[in-house]
């Protein structure tokens, strides 16, 4: 349980900083091309707790999946899980692209950065979370 919490906190801190750096700094100009799709800055800040809760839910679910079926494989298994989940998320992103007028490069940059992000998250979780001693069931 202690390692679960450590893995969660470490991955959460990374995702929070990565999200801020990517969306708040690097992709800022691309977001500005479609202002009608986004809330004004002040409104976003008033709903900031949704970002905190949402990121927490993403990281919690990731660590749960890792702990339930991938633990024991270490960093490599964590990276595998991150890549599988992110490619599925790219599918979801393409679905959104079909219905919302996002610029194509926002989807491309978001997907590439998403892969990098989830590889690092997987590596963090895989490095920190270790399963307990295995007991054979007869």
């Amino acid at each position: 349980m202690k390692r679960f919490i450590f893995a969660f906190v470490a991955a959460y801190i990374f995702i929070f900083l990565w999200g801020w750096l990517l969306n708040g700094v690097v992709l800022k100009d691309i977001y500005a091309q479609t202002p009608n799709l986004w809330r004004p800055q002040s409104e976003m800040m008033s709903l900031f707790h949704w970002i905190i809760i949402g990121q927490g839910l993403v990281v919690f679910s990731f660590v749960m999946i890792y702990a339930s079926g991938f633990a024991g494989g270490g960093v490599i298994a964590g990276i595998q899980l991150g890549v599988l989940l992110e490619i599925a998320a790219i599918g979801m992103r393409m679905g959104f692209y079909a219905v919302q007028p996002f610029p194509g490069k926002l989807i491309l940059y978001g997907s590439v950065s998403g892969i990098i992000e989830m590889i690092i998250v997987g590596a963090i979780v895989g490095a920190i979370y270790k399963p307990g001693p295995v007991k054979a069931v007869s």
């Binding site: 986004w38 927490g56 993403v58 991938f70 989940l85 599918g91 979801m92 393409m94 692209y97 079909a98």
Partner: protein
């Protein structure tokens, strides 16, 4: 990996995800989506991007099937439904982040979250019911709680 069963599970998952998405997001939530019309493409523009929607669903179904095959090699509807639920929680988290940055209504957020939970839990159950790894690959170990 049992590729025949994998392929059958993938096709069934894709069929379900696509059909559910059409009914839930396209029909049932159509009115809620129309409350914020500026967020969506026009009908004609959507038609031009329809291939992205189909390809996106193929990718989602394929990687959910891969995840189930890796996560629960022995298959089983219950275990894969739990995995589908956990995957849905990741998407629910992403929906909450989207709600904070895009002018969606609370009704849309709730609809998307409920839709994700139903869609991926059932898709996981379908995959788990259809996919079974070759017996030689199966193993059963129990992790001691810490």
């Amino acid at each position: 990996m049992n590729w025949t069963k994998f392929f059958v599970a993938f096709i069934a998952a894709f069929g379900f995800i696509f059909l559910f998405g059409f009914l839930w997001y396209g029909k049932l939530m159509h009115g809620a989506h129309q409350e914020v019309p500026t967020l969506w493409r026009t009908e004609a523009d959507f038609g031009n991007h329809f291939s992205s929607l189909v390809f996106g669903h193929i990718v989602m179904a394929l990687f959910l099937t891969l995840l189930c095959a890796r996560f629960v090699p022995a298959g089983g509807a219950g275990a894969c439904a739990v995995l589908g639920l956990l995957v849905a929680l990741i998407y629910a988290g992403a929906d909450m982040i989207t709600f904070a940055v895009q002018p969606l209504t609370t009704k849309i957020l709730c609809g998307w979250i409920v839709g994700d939970l139903i869609q991926f839990t059932i898709a996981g159950a379908i995959i788990g019911a259809l996919y079974k790894a070759a017996p030689a690959n199966s193993m059963f170990v129990k992790e001691r709680p810490r």
